[in-house]
Symmetry: C3
Subunit: 219 residues, 3 copies
């Protein structure tokens, strides 16, 4: 019940949409790193399904959804194939990709929080797993591409804040027994809009005290 934020069919399509846009970001990085077609497919799969995989292993939901739903597995392959042929066009519409990625962030942090709670975790732990679901795939993507995860870097717009806000709203809605299709949609939308604003206005999180005025040493 908790996991059925929307009717099952709508929820499933929203999941696939989030998977698709995350896969696109993985495939684009793979193209930039000059990977071959299998590297593109692997990075698309890992980026799209990695966050949910971590969540499912932690809560003991095995085999993870990534391995039981054929649509979850095929969607990243479609994204990888499109990027393989169309990547110059897609890079030109990079803004659109970022908007979709922000939408995936919103959907995944809410879905991750509610699924973790449905498996018996505390509200705090559910918020953490909501963040892990939304950000975990991107972290695995960057580790496999041998880069420092954007999630951690100072010179990228904040990604954690929108996910934490969305997850926390979902947790508060659960706590006050007000979680339904509409309110969880509002939580996802809030995370989505916050992320868009962060990118639009270049919001960055502070670095450690005393460092702000010093020159950037290494990035």
């Amino acid at each position: 019940m908790l996991t059925d934020l929307f009717t099952p069919s709508v929820q499933h399509w929203l999941d696939l949409a989030g998977i698709f846009v995350f896969a696109t970001s993985g495939a684009l990085l793979a193209v930039r790193k000059n990977f071959d077609v299998f590297g593109i497919a692997v990075l698309a799969e890992v980026t799209a399904l990695g966050g949910g995989l971590i969540r499912d292993l932690v809560i003991g939901a095995v085999p993870p959804a990534a391995f039981t739903d054929l649509g979850y597995f095929l969607t990243p392959l479609v994204a990888a194939a499109l990027i393989f042929f169309l990547h110059p066009e897609v890079e030109r519409i990079n803004g659109a990709v970022n908007v979709f990625d922000a939408a995936g962030l919103g959907l995944f942090c809410v879905a991750g929080t509610t699924k973790a709670y449905a498996y018996g975790l505390s509200l705090t732990a559910s918020v953490v797993l909501g963040l892990a679901t939304a950000a975990g795939g991107g972290v695995l993507r960057d580790v496999l591409a041998n880069e420092i995860p954007s999630l951690l870097r100072w010179d990228r717009e904040v990604y954690a804040v929108p996910a934490i806000v969305g997850s926390s709203m979902a947790a508060l809605l659960i706590h006050f027994q007000s979680l339904n299709a509409f309110t969880s949609g509002v939580a996802a939308l809030t995370a989505f809009v916050l992320r868009l604003l962060a990118m639009r206005y270049g919001w960055r999180a502070p670095r450690a005290w005393h460092r702000r005025s010093s020159a950037v040493e290494e990035v």
Copy 2:
């Protein structure tokens, strides 16, 4: 029954052979990266057992086989000790190592697929886990050594294709209820030979469209 492709004893020795050659590749990379003796042992263990560990966590087979069979744990240590003392000789016979690694690839993709299916996964998911079993250890090896996984790189011979072919043959044999010691041996042999051919003739997978003629940017 499905997991007993061969008599248990033969299967066990084949597993140990695959573990040994994968461990050798991990220990050799550790020597090249100038790791100490513990780094060599850790990288040998992770390379040899990492793929099966990922598979076992995903299908819920805990504790994983890597932790329940003493032979699985000791074999990489033997490989690490041999490389520690003999690595100049082994690097000279690098071709032999590659042949053994290809044999490990063949054995692991078939064994991974059949074990995943025996734990209730679909045929498609079993193929994916066969690939993960065969390639996962090498990916973890490269991540720990702070290198881009060879699996993903354009400038390495294809590794994914032989594993996918072997896993798919195993899945088809399961589907047509024809999996036995002989047919699964054929599937493993096919993956083995394909990998040998890929190395012999330098088969590489294509990079993204429009990129083929451009200069290599970063590797």
Copy 3:
């Protein structure tokens, strides 16, 4: 019983102390890598809880302790906040941090071994998981920071030996049914002192044969 080395309350405070010092080492590396405040918090959490998380996934103790005990989750955030404001002072007392980290190593290798054994693993596998509990968080920390794990590097003092000694002592105590608060304290203390001695006298493990006299190629 096995996991209650000390009275539950004392054990819990020792766990939190170990988590705190490991989190400090993660937060300090994040500051050096110029991460933002969320990167500091994430690296503190991963370093402090990653080793136990790996152990719990392997032994099937889900959800892992990291997600069921609020104190485990909040302690790294406290450490991250302190480092955020006080890192110049802390780097000056780097020696103190290393002492605490050695204490965490001692506590975690013994606690990891006993918990693994309590979940039905063999003594050998329990020793391996004791090492993984003590060293796993540091490995994840270095991978996320895009560095070669110090555990593997030749030019760092040995970390594996003290952890293996502590874990093996715990396993022997279990084998001879002599594990109690006092003897497990001795095992943790032995690992702690060995690590201090390794740092004090610059103990390093050998690299592969024939390499010792050659110049360091890459570090």
